[in-house]
Structures are given as structure tokens and as C-alpha cells.
Subunit: 231 residues, 2 copies
Amino acid sequence: MLAFDVFGTSVDWWTGITCQVTGIAAARGIDVDAAALAGAWRDRYLPSMARVRTGERPWTPLDTLHRESLDDVLDELGLADRFAEAVREQLVRCWYRLPAWDDVAGGLDRLRGRYLVVALSNGGFALLTHLAKHAGLRFDAVLSAELARTYKPDPAVYRTAAGLLGVEPARMLLVACHGWDITGAANAGLRTAFLERPGEKGPDHTADRAVDTSADLVVRGVGELAAALGC
Amino acid sequence: MLAFDVFGTSVDWWTGITCQVTGIAAARGIDVDAAALAGAWRDRYLPSMARVRTGERPWTPLDTLHRESLDDVLDELGLADRFAEAVREQLVRCWYRLPAWDDVAGGLDRLRGRYLVVALSNGGFALLTHLAKHAGLRFDAVLSAELARTYKPDPAVYRTAAGLLGVEPARMLLVACHGWDITGAANAGLRTAFLERPGEKGPDHTADRAVDTSADLVVRGVGELAAALGC
């Protein structure tokens, strides 16, 4: 059984957010560095979830965290008065529509011929369901950290997924492009595959690298993963 | 957004269970009326879930209820000593592999072109995921009563599904072939479509009829539903 991370691993959030911010801002005559906004917004992703994961704050859905982080970023960039409430809501919904990397749809179909393949992401259940459909990605099921009411890399997220699917954690392979996700899955007893996405954070930031992780397997695309697994 | 019931509505449990019981019994030289066993087993389905729903017993997964009901049925039919532990486990797993009705796969694909379409069943999450894959049914997501830790027709099941999908219950249409499911969904605020499956319980039992329900819509197949919804 394979569990795919989504943001970065399956879909190109950086291009998706940058392009949508560009379009939304242009339509309203707002001058903004969309790539900078996308990067600063995503920089707040892990810290915002960590506050839930560590118990500093109660369970909070990712859409709410995205909105709070966006508000912070707009304050920081001095853009707060340019982005009205409705535009902010529209921007939060951009995370529901992100393009898949070219290798994913076909690779998933190959893998699904032999394995059960699910999504397992910190995105909310609604977000992931819409995102997979919009990006044309066929998973056998969508699983969200929301079902465990905490966030990866908390072991509860991986174990809740395995429990719902009726398998031992050691029978699941987590596929992800982030070292922290690989480590979290390994701590929960899963097998791991690091999928390299050097462009995940755009041209000006460095993505996580395979050499910094201890995954069971390292691949450069879903097609390569399918081949490695005999599909 | 459309939520499809599964057993009876999307898949033909009666044929699937009867055929698998026949095969498993024949392979072991056990003489059994497979249709009678299938019917008696399913007769225990609603009462077994009602004990969880009413709080008479704590949350219990459907696989466990299926197993307990099977044990009771084999006792009642005087077959207890013919069915060893391993065979009973195999029989419980038969519910993971049931054939779809002919109209479902194509009808779902039509509906998915315009709507988000999910499964919403009393089957466990693992069962439903395997069942949909095996039957070749493409849902946008699988949702199980297990996520609410109770069973339909408890309103919590329908509302948990709507909550996870981020929509008001009134924006969901439940499609089901059972009057109790239609009533439960309506009580939770959903719209409802009764899908007639006159053969759902096999040739010797009467299936639920549209005239006994108060669904918003009555159809005789998923294709007819797709046409009614403009797909």
C-alpha cells in the first residue's frame, strides 16, 4: 500500500500559488511580487502546524492556518490594506487548485494497477478531494491529517491512516519530497520513499535533498517509483 | 455534491455474497444453501448496527459485526461445526469484493464530470476502499460511517461527511436504495434520491420501494440520475 504526500510531492504548489496570486492581483490592479508572497506564505506552513501538533493550540483546520498565515504575510509585506476580505478568501482557496507534476497522473495509474494508492497530506479532507479531482490525480482514497486531528509528522497521522486502511504501518510506503515527512513516517513504523522535487520551492529556494534523509528508497519521479516497484 | 450508498445501491451484495459462499463451500465440500445463508446474514445487518447506534454497545467496526452475525447464522443453520475459523475469516472478507450493478461505473463517470461524487456507506473505510477499487467504481473520495464512529441512519454520519467535505448538508444529495437511509439523510438536512434496486435482496425477498419513501427524486439507475441532473 502506498501513501502519497501531496503539496510538493504530487502537485507543484509554488507554480500554482504564484500564478494564481499573479492573476488575482492583476485583476484587481494590485502590484505584488507573487513569488515572494507564495514563498513567505509557505514559510509559515510548518510553524503554523507545529503549534497544533505540540498542543500549543487546539486542533485547527489547515484552511484556517492558511488564512492566518496569509494575514501575517500581507501585514509583513505592507500589503494589508490592498487585500480585502473577499480576496483573502479567494487566495486561501487557491490551495484547492494546484497543477500536478507531469509524472504523477500516469505514474499513479501504473502503481494503482498493482497497489492500493492513497493520498496522505496535511491538507484538509475537502481541500485534498477537490485538489486531486482538479489536478486529474486518481487515488484509491483520500486521507487527511484532519482525520487524526493533528498534523504530520505526528506519528498519529500515519498510524490513523494505516488503521483506517486495515494494515500494519510496516505495510505502508510513504512517498514524500520532504525530509521531515520521511522521518515522521519512519518514526511511525512506515517504509519510506524520498521523491526528489528540486523545483518544489521555486527557483530561489533550495528543496529538501535525498542526501539529508534516510529513506528506504530514493526516486526522481513517480514513473521511476513505479518501475522500482515492478509496475 | 453527491453521496452514494454502496451495499445494494452501488454493488449487488446478494449476488456477490451468494456466489462467493457457493465457491468457498464447494471448495471445502460443504453442503450449504448459499442464498439462504446470504439472506440470513444480511438480515442481521441493521439490528447489529442499531445496537451501536443506540449506544447499547460501544463503537464496533462493521467487519466485527459481520463476523458476529455470521457466527450466529451458522449456529442457527446448524452449520457451526462445518465452518472453521479460517473459512469464517474468508467469508467476512467476501464483503470487500462485490460486483457493481451494470449502470454504476459509467453513471458515476458522467456525474463526476459535473459534480463531486463520494461513497458514503456503513462499510468500514478499508472495506469501501478495496470494494470500490475491485468493482471498478471511481469516486472522488471514500467516506465511511467509521469516521463518525456510529452508523447510518444516525444523523452524525451524514453531517460528519458534509463537514469533512466543507459543505452544508443541504448541498449534498444522498443516493440510496433503502428507505431508512433516505429518511436518515433527510433528517440530517440532506437532499435525497431513491435509486430503485428491485433485485437487491435476491429473487425471494422484496426490496425497498420508492412508494414507501419520501425522497426528493426517484430514479431507476445511475444513468437516469445523471440525465436528471443534466450530466
